[in-house]
């Protein structure tokens, strides 16, 4: 893995700050143990260097320079998320409360103007506030207004529903995600895109588009595409790739989980047991492969998502096999034992990783001595 920090982005700058803080803590411990004591001159030089670096990074990006700021920052993020969801719900109900007392022309004007005004607010906050939280809230409100805009315009004029609205909403959410660096908006862009492609594929394979949820297989290709996009590392948007990978993985594995218990939703023309068996095996193989792939690429997001899905596949299968067959104490003991097995496997993987690191360090030392 590349140990260098990319300081061209907020994430890279934050990583560098975290690295400096960790280094300071470790240096203090080494000093306490008399392992490494820097001279006053060295300490002074190091202090000046770090202070200057932290000041310049803090001036460029809205970053947390110490642990207490980091804790506060988490609180701010949660408050911003709730704020965005609260405002969105409020606007949704506000429209429904009063739209019946406006004529169609006024309704159309209000529906079109709302997302544009929210975009204006987003631009205003981007200029005025460095952290971008208010801009993110305004952007989310703009997306909600645009969703309301098209869906209510459809209702007012009795227009036949169309899946094309999903791709327009996806485009809007994606644009706003890049403007505000918001992972929440990126998530909506991904979900709208998956809904659009799934609905389109449903119609190609002979169902009415609104029934796309009844054919889980139509989500597999969107899942693969979104997962593939997660391989692209984007400068300035390093935290976007994990979102693509997590939702790509979920869009592949959740339909497989559903089909492993409900063959009725499958396009495959095999008998029920064969379809469910096929998807059960596919679920185990794919989630295990994704964990292995995540370990190879050092993608913790993929390892975690794959592990959760593998565990769900395992437990639902255990439930299927043994819930009726075994007394409850034995069933839960089996769950406990299987958890121990998973624990042992992960410990083994962790040990192997540590040995790899140890081996790499030894080689580095040899190179240094040479």
């Amino acid at each position: 893995m590349d140990s260098k920090c990319n300081m061209d982005s907020k994430l890279g700058a934050q990583q560098r700050v975290d690295q400096i803080n960790t280094f300071k803590s470790e240096l203090q411990l080494l000093r306490d143990d008399d392992v490494l004591v820097l001279s006053d001159q060295q300490q002074q030089k190091l202090h000046e260097h770090h202070s200057s670096l932290l000041s310049s990074l803090a001036a460029l990006y809205d970053i947390d320079v110490n642990s207490s700021e980091k804790q506060l920052s988490i609180g701010v993020k949660i408050a911003a998320l709730f704020g965005a969801l609260g405002f969105a719900a409020s606007i949704f109900f506000l429209f429904y409360q009063y739209w019946g007392v406006f004529g169609p022309a006024m309704q159309s004007v209000v529906l079109i103007a709302s997302p544009i005004l929210a975009l204006g607010a987003c631009w205003f906050f981007l200029q005025k506030e460095a952290s971008g939280y208010y801009a993110k809230i305004a952007a989310f409100i703009s997306l909600v207004c645009f969703v309301l805009n098209l869906s209510m315009l459809g209702q007012i004029h009795n227009i036949t529903p169309s899946p094309n609205a999903f791709i327009i909403w996806s485009l809007m959410a994606l644009g706003l995600a890049y403007v505000t660096r918001s992972r929440l908006l990126l998530t909506f862009a991904i979900l709208f895109f998956a809904a659009f492609l799934s609905a389109r594929m449903g119609t190609w394979f002979g169902i009415y588009w609104l029934s796309f949820g009844e054919r889980p297989e139509t989500f597999l290709i969107p899942g693969v595409i979104i997962f593939a996009i997660g391989h692209i590392q984007q400068k300035h948007y390093e935290n976007f790739a994990p979102v693509f990978r997590i939702f790509g993985t979920l869009l592949m594995l959740l339909p497989i989980l559903v089909l492993s218990h409900w063959a009725g939703g499958s396009y495959l023309q095999w008998d029920r047991q064969t379809i469910e068996g096929f998807y059960q095996i596919s679920g185990f193989v794919l989630s295990a492969s994704l964990i292995a792939y995540g370990i190879k690429r050092y993608w913790h997001d993929l390892i975690k998502t794959g592990s959760v899905m593998f565990t769900i596949f395992l437990y639902t299968k255990l439930f299927d096999w043994f819930w009726e067959l075994f007394p409850k104490y034995l069933f839960f003991m089996l769950i406990g034992l299987s958890s121990l097995l998973i624990l042992m496997i992960f410990k083994r993987i962790r040990r192997d990783n540590k040995e790899d690191i140890k081996h790499t360090n030894t080689k580095d030392k040899e190179v240094c001595h040479d």
């Binding site: 429904y96 975009l119 809007m172 300035h236």
Partner: protein, 268 residues
């Protein structure tokens, strides 16, 4: 991303919002520019909600349609039943394959959006009304009071309450369907979703037949201030056998999209 790029992207998104809305409104305008058919529906065909949501000031009326089945005897309104004309041959002409119609096929999700003809107060409604009258007359010959009461209520419902809008035909081709009914001004054409069903009523053909899942536009929005007229009416129970209280002039446009052009209160 730089401020300049952000600005360009936000302007681009504003343009997307305006263009998409212009596209939608242009479609509405083109649809309304040509009225392909006009009908006057009543409360029987356009159902008022059973309650008003205090959080929603908008009002939509549900299009209530029926169809004749092979079962008869007042079973016309159950949506899981099959219209008697939606048989194997008709389903094949709508694009359903032999395999999709086979009883062996466990896949229950085969469905298509097609064009459907809805007839107002025509031969299908008269047949349904006559069936209710015959049933009532037959029950009068017996002595079962419950049966007589049920048949009488059913006849009252047919005469005063039940929808006179009947689905009578469907086709995958709009021109063909329009050609078939071009001389009947009480027939409107719209889109509906058709799927397969094993339920065939009394006569089993050994194949799946068709059922109407839903109309693609199942509700008609009532614009302001017309919605005030409907909202002024008292809510009714579903078994309240009172005459219709309003007439609704409905136009169908060039894109088969319906809209309400007028509402007249008719009740006392």
């Amino acid at each position: 991303m730089t401020d300049n790029l952000n600005k360009k992207l936000l302007l681009g998104l504003s343009a997307v919002i305006i263009l998409v809305n212009m596209w939608v409104l242009a479609g509405v305008f083109l649809n309304k520019s040509e009225i392909t058919s006009k009908v006057v529906l009543s409360e029987r065909e356009l159902t008022v909600p059973y309650f008003y949501d205090t959080e929603n000031s908008g009002l939509s009326l549900r299009i209530d349609y029926r169809f004749l089945t092979n079962d008869g005897d007042g079973e016309e309104f159950y949506r899981w039943h099959s219209p008697k004309w939606l048989d194997k041959e008709k389903m094949q002409s709508l694009g359903f394959s032999e395999k999709e119609l086979s009883l062996e096929n466990t896949d229950s999700l085969a469905e298509k959006e097609v064009f459907i003809a809805l007839e107002l107060d025509g031969a299908a409604y008269q047949e349904s009304l006559n069936k209710a009258k015959r049933k009532y007359e037959q029950t009068l010959l017996g002595l079962e009071q419950d049966e007589i009461k049920y048949a009488k209520n059913h006849l009252l419902q047919e005469e005063k309450n039940s929808s006179r809008l009947f689905a009578i035909d469907a086709d995958a081709n709009l021109d063909v369907l329009q050609g078939r009914f071009h001389q009947q001004n009480n027939v409107i054409i719209t889109r509906a979703v058709i799927s397969t069903t094993r339920w065939q009523g009394k006569s089993s053909t050994g194949f799946k037949v068709g059922r109407i899942d839903s109309l693609s536009v199942s509700h008609l929005y009532v614009p302001y201030p017309m919605n005030e007229k409907v909202k002024s009416l008292e809510l009714r129970d579903y078994d309240d056998f009172q005459p219709s209280r309003f007439d609704v002039a409905v136009n169908i446009g060039a894109h088969l999209t319906p809209w309400i052009s007028d509402i007249t209160l008719t009740g006392s």
